[in-house]
Amino acid sequence: MIRLSDMMTVALARLLRDGETVFCGVSSHLPLVAALLAKKLHAPGLVLLNIPGGVNPEKPRLSRITSAGSELWDSAAAEMTLAQVFDLSMRGGLDVAFLSGVQMDNRGGVNASLIGDWRQPKVRLPGGAGSAVLIPTAKRAILWRTKHDRRTFVQQVDFLTAKGNVSDVMTPLCHFVACQGELLLNSVHPYTSIEEVAENTAFPIRYKVLRKTTPISDAEMSALREVDPHDLRSIEF
C-alpha cells in the first residue's frame, strides 16, 4: 500500500535537479522533506532556501509545528534572510519555488486569498505569502496541494492571487505539467486512475501521453524514512 504523502513527496523530489536553488516557505513540510530527499538521492548540490534564512541546513531536525523555525537555521553554513531570498528570485536567480493554494485552475492560476468577492470575502484565507511575486519570478514554480477535489481544482479561481511560471502541480492523485500555459496531466499515481482524477477535478483533463507515476523504489523509500523519520510529510493528510 503506497501512502499518498509518500508518493507526493517522492514525486516532488524527482522534479528537483542537482545544483538548483529551491525555496520552501511557511506551512510547507511536504516539499521541505521532498527537497531534503532530493538532496540525499540525486541532487547533493541542491541549495535549500527558507524563511528563517539558513542556507542548506545539514540534516535538520524538522519541527512538526513550523517550517519557518530556527531548526532550519542552526546547522546552516550561511545566512540569507527571507528578504534576500525574495531578492534572489526577483533578479532571476531562484530556480524553484514551492507554493500552494486553496484553488487552482488549469491555466496555472492560484488562489490563496479568499473565497467570494474581494470587496466582501465570504471566506478569508491565509493569503498567498510569497506567491504573488515568486510564481512569476522563480524559474519554475512548483505547486502542491495535499487535497485533490473539485473545490481545489476549479474551472476558475475566485481570486487570482498569483499566476506565472507554474511548471508543475503535484497532488495526491497525479502530476500536472504546464504546457503552453495549460496544465496537462503528465502522470497519475500508481494507486489511482485517470477516471478518479477527472472525477475530482473541475477543469477538463487533457494530456499528450498518459503515464503512470513511477512507483517508489526501495532506495527512495529508505532515504525518505531517513530524512523524515517523524513523518512530517503526512501532517496535512
Binding site: 528563517p52 513550523t66 519557518a68 465570504k122 471566506v123 505569502a129 510569497g130 511575486v133
Partner: protein
C-alpha cells in the same frame, strides 16, 4: 540613558490607532507578552504590519484591537490550522485586510527605511492584489524600460520585537533567524524591545558580539523572560502547544480576559 521600563509602561506609550509592526514569524519569536499587554490595555484601531503572522494577529483580532492588517500570510501552520478569530473579523467587515505578497511588505518597509515614498517591485505579474490592495500601483520606467509595479511605503509608528539580549540603553541582539525584525527597526518611528535577558553595559563592546540594533533607535526596553511564549524562542524554548490550543479553544472574546489573566500569573 536607562530605557528599562515595565511592559505596562512600554505598551501604554502606544496610542489607539497606531500602526504597529510585530517581530517574529508565524509561531517563532513573536513578542507575545507585549501582544497580551496590548489586549489587556484594550487598544483600539491598531494597524498591524507583518509578513507572516499567526497567534499575534489572531489574538488582537479576538480582543477587538485591530482596524487593519498589512500582511502576506495570516495563519498558523500545519496542525494548528487557520486563524479563526482573524477570519471571522475580516469576514464580518470589522478588520480590513491589505493583502500583500510577504515581499511587498518587505519592500514597503524598505521604502520607509530608505525615506522614499514607494518602492518598485519586480514580479507582481498577474495578480488581483494589484486591484484589491490600494498600496500597490504601477509606474513608468524613466530610463525607457517597461512599466513596473510599486508599493507605497509603510512606516509603522511602532515596532515591537522580542530579542535574546539587550542592555539598559537599548542595544539589542537576536540569535538565530532575524526574520524582518531588523528591517522593522529601520522602518518604524519608535521601537519597543522586549528581551529574555538584560545584559551589562559593556556586553556588546567586543569584536565578536555586536548588537544588531543600536541603542539610539530604541525607545523602551522591557525585561520579559519567556516573553515570546507560547511561540518558540530559538535556543531557549519551543512552542507551548497546550497554550496555543487553549487560546484557540476560547471561542468568544469574553473568555479572553481570563486567559490573559492566566498568562499574567504564569509570567510571575
Amino acid at each position: 540613558m536607562n530605557k528599562i521600563c515595565t511592559m505596562a509602561q512600554a505598551i501604554e506609550s502606544i496610542p489607539d490607532g497606531a500602526m504597529v509592526a510585530i517581530g517574529g514569524n508565524t509561531l517563532n519569536r513573536v513578542p507575545m507578552e507585549a501582544v497580551y499587554q496590548m489586549a489587556r490595555q484594550n487598544k483600539r484601531n491598531l494597524q498591524l504590519v507583518k509578513t507572516a503572522g499567526a497567534m499575534d494577529i489572531d489574538l488582537l483580532c479576538l480582543a477587538g484591537c485591530v482596524k487593519s492588517v498589512d500582511a502576506g500570510y495570516v495563519s498558523y501552520e500545519s496542525q494548528f490550522s487557520l486563524c479563526r478569530y482573524y477570519r471571522r473579523a475580516v469576514e464580518k467587515g470589522q478588520v480590513i485586510t491589505y493583502e500583500h505578497a510577504c515581499y511587498t511588505v518587505i519592500c514597503a518597509l524598505r521604502a520607509a527605511a530608505y525615506g522614499i515614498p514607494f518602492m518598485p517591485v519586480k514580479g507582481l505579474g498577474q495578480t488581483q492584489l494589484m486591484e484589491s490592495n490600494p498600496r500597490l500601483g504601477h509606474i513608468q520606467d524613466p530610463f525607457g524600460g517597461p512599466d513596473i509595479a510599486v508599493v507605497q511605503a509603510i512606516r509603522p509608528n511602532f515596532a515591537i520585537l522580542h530579542v535574546h539580549y539587550a542592555d539598559q540603553a537599548g542595544n539589542a541582539m537576536i540569535c538565530g533567524p532575524v526574520y524582518e525584525d531588523l528591517l522593522m527597526v529601520q522602518a518604524s518611528e519608535r521601537v519597543i524591545i522586549t528581551t529574555e535577558e538584560i545584559v551589562p553595559d559593556n556586553y556588546f563592546r567586543r569584536q565578536d558580539i555586536k548588537a544588531q540594533i543600536p541603542a539610539f533607535q530604541v525607545e523602551a526596553v522591557v525585561h520579559a523572560p519567556k516573553g515570546a511564549r507560547p511561540t518558540a524562542m530559538p535556543f531557549c524554548y519551543p512552542v507551548d502547544e497546550a497554550e496555543v490550543r487553549a487560546f484557540q479553544g476560547l471561542g468568544a472574546a469574553e473568555q479572553l480576559s481570563k486567559y490573559l489573566e492566566g498568562r499574567r500569573e504564569a509570567a510571575r
